[in-house]
């Protein structure tokens, strides 16, 4: 299991998600829609998707741009040293306990300051293969989130790993599940399909021919 480099630490949380505070340079910034894990003290692990990356206003940079010229040292200092203060919103999609994955919401939210890590291929593959894609409903239930974009980003990430593992029909199964869940919500379904179409996941028709 790839532990990965810690993204940040939980600031505030509830049963359905949390906000992570961190300072990351642009190179290491986590991806929108990417899957993350929060190891809890009891050995279990909460899984979530990144639904928002909020970069706060930087007063200093605003000042710097008013100067006549900016020295290369200052530019480098800002590019590499001055970590952008970032708040990452995470939506919980399930958890793992004693080796088995669950797509239910975690029984307890993470306490403040628990570290968040990007998920490795094995975790992503394992979690998304377990059960019957039930975790998708957490994403669909969220309000005020760009659901279509999150799903597209997630399917792209998980789909690539599933294809690599030889499960060529995972993307199709996930798509089908989404269509089923959204069958009565025409507007949302349309938006979701539109963003899925943009992922180019469906070009060759997958490896399930």
């Amino acid at each position: 299991m790839m532990a990965g480099i810690e993204i940040g630490r939980a600031l505030r949380s509830s049963i359905t998600g949390c906000v992570v505070g961190c300072r990351v340079s642009q190179l290491d910034a986590p991806e929108f829609g990417g899957m993350v894990s929060i190891p809890l003290d009891d050995g279990s692990k909460i899984f979530g998707l990144i639904t928002d990356i909020h970069i706060d206003d930087d007063g200093l940079v605003r000042q710097l741009v008013t100067a006549e010229n900016i020295s290369s040292e200052v530019i480098e200092d800002n590019r590499l040293n001055r970590n952008v203060p970032v708040e990452i919103s995470v939506l919980f999609i399930g958890f793992e306990r004693e080796g088995s994955y669950s797509h239910l919401l975690p029984p307890r939210p993470p306490l403040s300051l628990l570290a968040i890590y990007p998920c490795g291929d094995r975790e992503i593959g394992g979690f998304t293969s377990a059960g019957r894609l039930g975790y998708l409903r957490h994403i669909l239930r969220a309000v005020d989130l760009p659901v279509a974009e999150i799903l597209a980003a997630h399917l792209r990430q998980a789909g690539a790993i599933q294809n690599k593992n030889g499960n060529g029909d995972w993307v199709e199964a996930a798509t089908r599940e989404l269509i089923t869940l959204l069958r009565d919500d025409y507007a949302t379904l349309n938006t979701v399909l539109g963003s899925l179409a943009d992922t180019h996941l469906y070009l060759q028709g997958g490896s399930n021919d």
Binding site: E172, T175, R176, I179, T180, R183, D184, Y186, L189, L193, G194, L196, A197, Y202, L203, G205, G206
Partner: protein, 570 residues
């Protein structure tokens, strides 16, 4: 040989709604083009198998917008396909007809119990009384299903009339059961009725289940014919069955297709009753006064009324003592005055009846010999094809068929009574099927009470005589008679009333109406009614050499002289 080997027994969908009164609704899980109206479908649920026909297909969508929008233009093909698979669907309506207990899974503990309970009993096929559960799987029929319901093709008494359209599975009809009641073969002109009739007759003749008296109005059945549209040879019953089939011509010197019939029949004047004439009211345009006049004639002359009347002259006058013109003694008027019959009526009748009097096959006396021969042949198990030859008018048809059938039925009636009184001593009469074409001319509402045919239809099998009516205007047939018909085999019908008529007397068959109008002419028929376990849509078998080969075995193959020599051992 199955055209679609993958189709047999294929799952096509699952039950989503419907009920006993309405049809069952099935959500299709295959492309709609794989199933057609009329397909024979089986649903297994709760230990029962339900058998039915597809009567309607309809497109649906979980939301009409999915149907309206061409998402395949907006989305990649694969994605659109997934979307459509969930949101666009086809529902088919299945008319359930029969059900049968299938019991639990063989090998399960419950199975032993069930098997013991049903030991020795036949699995019974019942009219449908309950319905399958939600989501029960619907599938196309297998050959075992067809065999279960309609009988297996190899078994004796089961005659293959056609195949299911989807999978080409052979469907049989039990001819013995079929002829227990009068039956009908219907279809618009050109829909292949006569071919179907030939097939059924071939089956009857070959299996020796009854004698048939075929009134061959258009000279189609006896000798080889040529199909009008394809110009191919159509085998005749006589050609195939040889001496078992006798061709009888109407009137002497009447050749049928250049061939001489085995014997001919002439109608005797004394065979014609007033009722026979009344039957011709419309054809001859007789007036309401006719019955009175006829009765008077019968009163006057008894059995020879016909002859006498034919000798009377219309308008014959003589001069009397006073030089006044008075009706001659041999005039119609004279007789009319003598018997208190309206002169004008009588004269009118006489004029109109000249057509009948002039019929070349109407001769003096009676037709005893020919008739007896016919009866004897029929009793002996032979078959009569009664050809009208050049006498093809309605008048000929109506008059002759009615007289003949009346006489034959009388004979049969007597024999049956004798048999019933002395079952040990008297031989059981031979079952007789009278085959009439253009049945609406004989069985319409006006004539329904008057012809023997309606009597036969109503009596059913009481006197061992049933009808096989062939008609293209079933709506013209008196519905009381129609409802007495058992098996009905119908080809394509265009007229609403005709469709309605074919289905009359059969409960809850609204679902089948559309099907009759969608049949492929010359290819497909719908078979339903008393003699058939459940309605079924068939692709009729072809009436060709293949058919004859199968029916009769290899003997009918025309062999070359060389081959013949070979079989003889040279």
């Amino acid at each position: 040989m199955t055209e679609n080997p993958g189709m047999e027994g294929k799952n096509i969908g699952y039950i989503v709604g419907g009920g006993l009164r309405e049809s069952l609704r099935v959500r299709l899980t295959v492309d709609p083009q794989e199933v057609q109206e009329g397909a024979f479908v089986v649903v297994e649920s709760g230990g029962w198998s339900f058998y039915g026909l597809v009567t309607d297909l309809a497109l649906g969508a979980t939301d009409p917008r999915f149907a309206d929008e061409q998402s395949e233009e907006r989305l990649p093909a694969e994605l659109a396909k997934l979307l459509h698979g969930q949101t666009l669907y086809t529902t088919l309506e299945m008319l359930p007809a029969l059900m049968m207990e299938t019991g639990p899974e063989p090998g399960s503990p419950a199975y032993m119990e069930w098997a013991n309970a049903h030991l020795g009993g036949d699995e019974k096929v019942l009219p449908v009384k309950t319905i399958p559960s939600h989501h029960a799987i619907a599938r196309l029929a297998r050959s075992s299903d067809i065999a279960q319901i309609f009988g297996a093709p190899g078994v004796e008494g089961n005659f293959v009339v056609g195949t299911t359209r989807e999978q080409d599975l052979a469907v049989c009809v039990n001819l013995k059961k079929m002829i227990q009641r009068s039956a009908g073969i219907f279809g618009a002109t050109g829909s292949g009725k006569s071919f179907l009739t030939r097939i059924v007759l071939a089956g009857l003749i070959h299996n020796d289940l009854a004698s048939t008296l075929i009134f061959d109005m258009h000279n189609e059945y006896g000798w080889d014919d040529t199909a009008s549209d394809t110009n191919t040879k159509v085998a005749g019953l006589r050609n195939k069955f040889g001496a078992r089939v006798r061709i009888v011509g109407l009137g002497r010197d009447n050749t049928v297709r250049g061939q001489t019939p085995d014997f001919y029949l002439e109608i005797g004047e004394e065979d014609i009753t007033p009722e026979d004439i009344e039957l011709l009211s419309r054809t001859l345009n007789l007036r309401e006064t006719t019955p009175t006049t006829l009765e008077a004639l019968q009163q006057s002359f008894g059995k020879s009324w016909f002859h006498e009347f034919s000798q009377m002259k219309v308008g014959a006058v003589v001069e009397d003592e006073n030089g006044k013109k008075v009706p001659a003694a041999d005039s119609v008027a004279y007789w009319a005055n003598q018997n208190g019959v309206n002169v004008a009526a009588a004269e009118g009748l006489r004029s109109k009846l000249s057509r009948v009097f002039n019929l070349p096959y109407v001769v003096s006396g009676q037709m005893e010999n020919a008739l007896q021969t016919i009866i004897a042949d029929l009793s002996a198990g032979k078959h009569i094809v009664f050809s009208f030859g050049k006498h093809e008018s309605d008048l000929d048809y109506l008059l002759v068929t009615n007289i003949l059938t009346r006489r034959i039925r009388e004979t049969w009636g007597k024999r049956v009574n004798e048999f019933r009184s002395n079952p040990g001593k008297v031989k059981e009469p031979r079952q007789l099927v009278v085959v009439v074409e253009e049945a609406h001319k004989l069985l319409n509402r006006e004539m329904a009470s008057q012809t023997t045919f309606s009597t036969i239809a109503r009596e059913m099998r009481k006197y061992y005589v049933t009808l096989l009516v062939i008609d293209q205007r079933p709506s013209q047939i008196y519905d009381e008679v129609m409802s007495q018909l058992g098996t009905r085999i119908s080809g394509w019908l265009g007229d609403e009333d005709d469709i309605h008529a074919v289905l009359s007397g059969l409960a809850g068959r609204d679902a089948l109406r559309g099907m009759l109008a969608h049949l492929q002419p010359k290819e497909e028929v719908l078979m339903l009614g008393w003699g058939v376990p459940m309605p079924i849509l068939l692709r009729t078998r072809r009436y060709d050499d293949e058919f004859w080969k199968e029916l009769l075995g290899k003997e009918t193959e025309k062999k070359s002289p060389e081959e013949n020599l070979k079989t003889l051992g040279y």
